[in-house]
């Protein structure tokens, strides 16, 4: 009886898998790889919901030249080796037309390698390590700016307002963190800021006090951190505990703009600055509508990661509409000719420095003011005036 059951189960599974590839005729399938479980699931969730929201709108508006668009989501669990096999599965088994998604830089890099090898176009929407578009991989396109450009807005804020003399850099020792910290160090050198502490750390630590003690000892004017969300919360809480009082704390996007950051860090999140790539009040068509619709549909906040994903979905749709055929090379050609406006800003893939197929966008500076994320720089776009100088004793009371 048990054996029979086993056989029946196996047959059932076979049927399920076999059936999956049969009904592909009138839908256009695109693979999206995101961290849906695991340590980076927060980001993956915001992006997946945004992809789904865009997909519904695209199909409701008639799809791609009469055909329905379909996204096949795969979970990379935040691990490069899983991301790699997810990409291989989507390309060889599901025969997707192109790939999208890519959250963590290490995972994105792994997916990009597979996509290039198989000559399948891949539109990266978040993975921001500079080297992803510096490999000469002509099938890889990136919607968001590379991590080295995240602090562009911060740079002008520092030269015009803060004028710090010393800085500490704390970063997660991954592709994303290391590459971001090197670039920020270069900026510091350019601005004549002395880097007094530069420390990497392993993601998921319980106690960050050892490195924070070093920061406190050097008492820098500026503390710049590149972290995912839970590390960001713990770093700020423990910095508050140790009473580290630089002129300002700045996060390098990622964890510092998520709604989970103030939820977990509490008052330690208050008045912290962060670089960001997008804010809902920016004058891009549909930006505010996207924000409102997301909040109304899912009853939670969204931020730049969601906007990236939403915009990426529209870029994918636009590309498939313009592509002469569904062959990877025609899609690649259409993607490279993209020139459109999205909620995330204008999208056009260009080559500069060592990068190819890279979209170029300005970045912004936000600050947590009274529990809300406010755009504070550049000044002419600000939703609230920045709070500086900051009296930490009053903020942390």
């Amino acid at each position: 009886m048990k054996k029979l059951l086993c056989v029946a189960l196996c047959l059932g599974l076979l049927g399920a898998f076999g059936g999956a590839s049969a009904w592909a005729a009138d839908t256009l399938r695109v693979g999206i790889i995101l961290p849906i479980t695991g340590a980076k699931a927060n980001f993956g969730e915001i992006e997946k919901l945004s992809f789904e929201m865009a997909l519904q709108e695209i199909n409701a508006a008639g799809g791609i030249n009469g055909k329905k668009l379909e996204f096949l989501f795969e979970d990379d669990t935040g691990r490069p080796e899983v991301a790699r096999s997810a990409a291989e599965k989507l390309i060889t088994k599901d025969k997707v037309l192109m790939l999208g998604g890519g959250y963590g830089s290490s995972e994105t890099f792994a997916i990009a390698g597979v996509a290039q090898q198989n000559r399948i176009p891949f539109l990266v929407n978040t993975g921001s390590d500079d080297k992803i578009t510096e490999q000469g991989w002509e099938y890889i396109f990136r919607l968001n700016p590379p991590v080295s450009e995240y602090p562009k807005a911060l740079e002008s804020f520092l030269t015009e307002v803060v004028k710090p003399k010393t800085a500490a850099i704390l970063y997660e020792n991954t592709n994303f963190g290391t590459s971001g910290s090197q670039e920020f160090k270069a900026i510091c050198q350019r601005l004549g800021i002395q880097v007094v502490v530069e420390e990497g750390y392993e993601h998921g630590g319980v106690d960050f006090k050892p490195i924070l003690v070093k920061v406190k000892d050097k008492n820098p004017d500026l503390v710049y951190m590149i972290s995912y969300v839970m590390d960001a919360s713990l770093l700020m809480r423990q910095a508050m505990e140790l009473r580290i009082k630089p002129k300002l704390f700045v996060g390098g996007a990622a964890g510092f703009t998520l709604p989970e950051f103030p939820k977990n860090a509490g008052k330690a999140a208050e008045k912290v600055f962060s670089a960001t790539l997008w804010y809902q009040t920016l004058k891009y068509p549909g930006a505010m509508d996207y924000y409102n619709k997301f909040v109304a549909t899912y009853k939670k906040d969204t931020e730049y990661h969601g906007a990236e994903a939403y915009a990426a979905a529209y870029v994918i749709a636009d590309t498939l509409k313009r592509a002469k055929s569904t062959s990877p090379d025609d899609i690649r050609k259409a993607l490279s000719e993209t020139d459109m406006m999205t909620v995330f800003g204008p999208v056009k893939f260009i080559s500069y420095d060592k990068k190819i197929n890279q979209n170029r966008l300005p970045t912004y500076l936000v600050q947590w003011i009274d529990g809300r994320l406010e755009l504070v720089w550049p000044k002419e776009l600000a939703t609230k005036p920045y709070v500086y100088p900051i009296d930490w004793d009053a903020v942390w009371k």
């Binding site: 927060n42 319980v206 960050f208 490195i211 003690v213 000892d217």
Partner: protein, 291 residues
């Protein structure tokens, strides 16, 4: 100097929690002669119970200790009785296969947690979590100090229990020599069930104490199983005093390593000590303390 003192303080406080995690594993190791590779996952279960109690019943995490410890005791005892003990009875199955069973238990617990709570990060933040005591420029994080204090109390309680009570003596007897204990009328099977429950309850306490400081997600268990394993080896397999010393040594050396070498190599520091102990002190710190 302040840097050094703050580093050591942070290390010792963390070491207290590490010790509590390690003791449970070491007890199980002593009696059953197996490494319980579901240890961190049991801790994760206790943390989810604490989280649910805080979120829906608004029960303070420290009060939740009174619930999580008995719950995990029962869970541990049931696991031992219905999953681990039956393996001993089948002759063709090597006793080592109990270890594999614990790996399986760990995986199932993780995936169950993911099914119920998803992968989101959860945290428990009563108002006192960000409070600190200050001695000069040295900060003592309040929940960490409380956790350390409770860990010490629980350890003392455990020692009294092992030294003074009949059941405690039976546990030690079984750990020392199972055959002799059997001959003297100790019900070894019941003792193994009891010990696994006790080990689970101790790690539950560690989890509940850690939650106000840290955060919670289904995959958290693995990292702490590894920590517990290192502590158990450091301390000398099966030695409770060794586990306490091992926990504090690990906490302080991680902390010092992070300050003076690099935080990115924090886990490597723990592993290097682990290797050094294996090479130069194969019996673990037990060899030094003789207990």
């Amino acid at each position: 100097m302040a840097v050094f003192i703050q580093t050591v303080v942070a290390g010792i406080l963390m070491g207290g929690i590490y010790a509590l995690i390690g003791i449970g594993m070491t007890l199980i190791m002593g009696v059953m002669k197996i490494i319980n590779l579901a240890h961190g996952q049991l801790m994760m279960v206790a943390m989810y119970i604490t989280y649910v109690l805080y979120e829906y019943v608004h029960l303070d995490p420290y009060a939740a200790l009174l619930i999580t410890m008995p719950c995990l005791f029962i869970l541990g005892a049931v696991l031992q009785r219905s999953l681990l003990n039956p393996l001993i009875k089948v002759e063709s199955i090597l006793p080592e296969n109990q270890v594999l069973m614990t790996v399986g238990i760990g995986m199932v617990l993780t995936e169950l947690a993911r099914m119920i709570f998803h992968s989101d990060y959860k945290s428990v933040r009563p108002p006192y979590t960000s409070m600190s005591l200050y001695a000069g420029s040295i900060a003592f994080n309040l929940p960490m100090v409380i956790a350390f204090g409770i860990a010490v109390l629980l350890t003392i309680g455990l020692f009294l229990f092992l030294l003074k009570t009949d059941v405690g003596k039976s546990v030690r007897a079984t750990a020392q020599n199972k055959e002799a204990a059997l001959l003297l009328g100790v019900n070894a099977e019941r003792i193994t069930i009891f010990t696994y429950g006790l080990g689970a309850a101790l790690v539950a306490a560690a989890g509940t104490l850690l939650l106000p400081i840290y955060y919670l997600f289904p995959d958290l268990g693995g990292a702490f199983t590894l920590k517990a394993f290192v502590i158990t080896i450091l301390g000398g397999l099966g030695s409770t005093v060794g586990a306490i010393v091992g926990g504090v040594v690990l906490g302080v050396s991680e902390s010092l390593g992070a300050t003076y070498i690099s935080m990115a190599l924090k886990d490597a520091v723990g592993m290097v000590i682990f290797l050094l102990v294996l090479i130069f002190l194969p019996g673990g710190l037990k060899r030094l303390t003789k207990i």
